[in-house]
Amino acid sequence: MANHSLALRHQFDDVEQQKDASTFGMWIFLATEVLFFGGMFCCYTVYRSRYPMAFGNASNHLDLILGAVSTAILIFSSFTMACGVNSAATGAKNALVGFLSLTILFAAAFLVIEMSEWHMLYKEGLMPGFNFTYKEFDPGHVQLFFCMYFAMTGLHASHVTIGIGILAVMAIRAWRGAFGPEYFTPIEISGLYWHFVDLVWIFLFPLYYLIARHLQG
């Protein structure tokens, strides 16, 4: 592709069609992702409705403040990402690189916090399959809570990690001047992906940290 700013692939008639198609394709992919996480959300919902007390007891083993802080950090990263898209659209190359780097930084901070929480749970004997020694209230279903917790936050964390990779590539490309006001579809699409990652966490946070805390048996 000689001319990046007008990178029109042969199957498209014009840039507009290409851009529309790419964004639309990303949205379909995100719909797929909704259902991908959806299978796990479905498991969560069923078990939460059946064993509220076990979920309540388990939920109190999570650190609410850490959860809230990581939520805020992800929202921060979403904000910087959105600003990055704005910079790309206005052709502010340095700002774009800066915002992308900030986003990556926040994403990494999120992962660090999440892993420290995992480590804590592991040490407390609340990690099914590795170290699960919980014996108090209804251990089988508390185990279920943590299975779903690790499965869902794990899947989410893998999305964050992939996101960091994508954003790093985008930052390098942006730094080399691949994007401008006429062509920044990749930035926009990566942005959509990143906001989706934030979106998932917006639901994971209340489901695991908030809505069962008051139930204790």
């Binding site: 639309f24 069923v46 959860g67 990402m81 906001h195």
Partner: protein, 99 residues
């Protein structure tokens, strides 16, 4: 279709609202409101999600087709939950003990 450029100022309003909502939901989470806890937490989560989708993800300014895609994703998730819960929650709705 001209690309709608959202300004950083607009983004920061959304961002501030999101942070505020996170603060509220966390505070409420520390209290015991009974069943209301679930309602408040989920309502706030939905509002936050809507803010992200509409503004950060530009759906507010997007084509009908993209809007439809979002709706389809959510609708299918709702289908999955609805019909699974139809089984999970309906024991005892009909006069068959345990079935």
């Amino acid at each position: 279709m001209a690309e709608h450029i959202v300004t950083k100022k607009q983004y920061s309003y959304v961002f501030a609202t999101l942070l505020l909502l996170t603060f509220i939901t966390t505070t409420v989470g520390m209290m015991d409101l009974g069943r209301l806890n679930v309602v408040v937490a989920l309502v706030i989560a939905v509002i936050k999600a809507l803010l992200v989708v509409l503004f950060f993800m530009h759906i507010y300014w997007s084509s009908k087709l993209n809007k439809l895609t979002v709706v389809a994703g959510v609708a299918w998730l709702a289908l999955l939950l609805w019909l699974t819960l139809t089984d999970v929650l309906s024991r005892g709705w009909l006069p068959f003990p345990g079935k």
